[in-house]
Amino acid sequence: MTLRRGGRPLLWLGLSVALVALAVAGIAIGTIALSPGAVWAALLGRGDATTITVVRDLRAPRVALAALVGAGLAMSGAALQGILRNPLAEPYLLGVSGGAAVGAVLAVVAGATSAGLVPLAAFAGAVLAVSVAMVVARAVGGRADPRLLLMAGVVVGAFANAAIMIVLANAPADTLRNATWWMMGSVAGAEWSGVRWLALYIAAGGLLLVARARDVDVLSLGEDSAAALGVRVEQSTRAVYLIAALVAAATVSAAGLVGFVGLMVPHLVRAAGVRSHRSLLAGSAIAGAGLVIGADLLARTLLPPAELPLGAVTALLGVPFFLARLRTLA
């Protein structure tokens, strides 16, 4: 929470090493186990053709997608907790997840066959939900009151969940299964084309959030204090809210609902002593990427050959973490 440059080289080194190690493990571990050396060789296009295909076309895009989803959700959560001044704020509370799920479920129920259609519908649903939440908050309160934004998001999310239940109640079994699987989150079946698109999107959103990080530092003090320190409170709050929601929407459209990441990772990074939102965003991006890579690795390997839903694994990881946090708060 400062303009000054923080040190902590060990923290950054540790986070980066952990991320690289998890990424290598994510590529190396699977039905065909590879050594880190073989992973490196295959990435460079050396070795036998099967290994190269497995690494380059199957596992690497999957790991990259997991990293992007984790980074996006964690940055989104860090920014939202700052502007909404609420440690429980997370992207899925804003109606993003509900809206995206409605879009995706409608696309599945409508019989969307093209792989690209479901993510597009999810993204459209998320953007619509966020827009509705912002319009509701504005219509009710006039100002960008954090509490109103949060509650409007919760209301929109509740409405979205009701809509999903109504749509799914009469859906055929295989549609139900597809929709449910999507809502449980997954990075399986990642392809480079989608990953590239998401990378561009997350990077742009992340940079926009970092550019606003100082304002978020000040906004987290409260509205009057932020105004006293020269921040355009309404404008900044809305802008950060919108960017964070769009980043989360992109991750949801690419991988379904991966819960707890946006809530948990910023707390982890704060617990490591990071305070300024610029550092918090960067640290959350790295930690979030590593966390989802690791969670996906667990999802693939815990009960082979079955694959667990990614969202369930992140939630399972989140529970002990929050119990530990509760202990420090009590």
Partner: protein
Amino acid sequence: MIVFESLVVRYPRAKTPAVRGVSLAALAGRVTAVVGPNGSGKSTLVRALLGRVTIESGTISVSGADARTLAPRELARRVAVVPQRETPAFPAPVRDLVALGRHPHAHGLARWTEGDEAAVERAIVEAGVGDLVERSSDELSGGEWQRVRIARALAQEAPALVLDEPTTFLDIAHEMAVFELLHRLARKGTAVLLVSHQLNLVARFADEIVLLHRGAVAAAGSPLDVMRGDVLEQVYEWPLVVTRDPAVGAPSLVPLRGHRGARDTPSH
């Protein structure tokens, strides 16, 4: 210098304005105190200055410019404000919190400069929070937190300083220290505007007192002009006497006991 000119402020959906045509000036080198009962419009003046409430009519000028036309950062370079309430969402080191006072001086992604560092150091020394800088905000008492916020406002290095009830939660020593600090800053040329409930201290430290009653100025002038029993009794709706403090000679208010049926006044 901050000048409020015939200011009228009405909260959304409120029947009557919270501030009804208030004019007052906080001049450089002087401590100007705004006093009055709860709900008399004191804090609304501060919020109007910050653009947190819509001004219905009238103007607020800061160093000659209309506050509404100034960019927020420019406003924050001209006047440092310590609002009434503040609870940071996440704990932070005290030094970092004081450093946020440099926010109005930062541009884009510009680096932290030696000038910023020096301003923060000066503010820490001036506000007397040197013993707190290594602590975290969640380890501070209410009074310590208030002093840290004053330090942050000083780090803004603005020619005018506005404080909304800065000595709430402070014990006698720290309260006196704050008043002495404000007095010192004014003598160095700062325009100090202070909202306070501490009439007796205000009477000793302020150069000018503005007494608000139901959104309008009930009395204004030197402490001797404003601290009159009849005026204060009417405004505060409580029997009281004003004496001369035997030790320092300043006018001193003593509320009397045994009064029944005092009318409810609006509260926050």
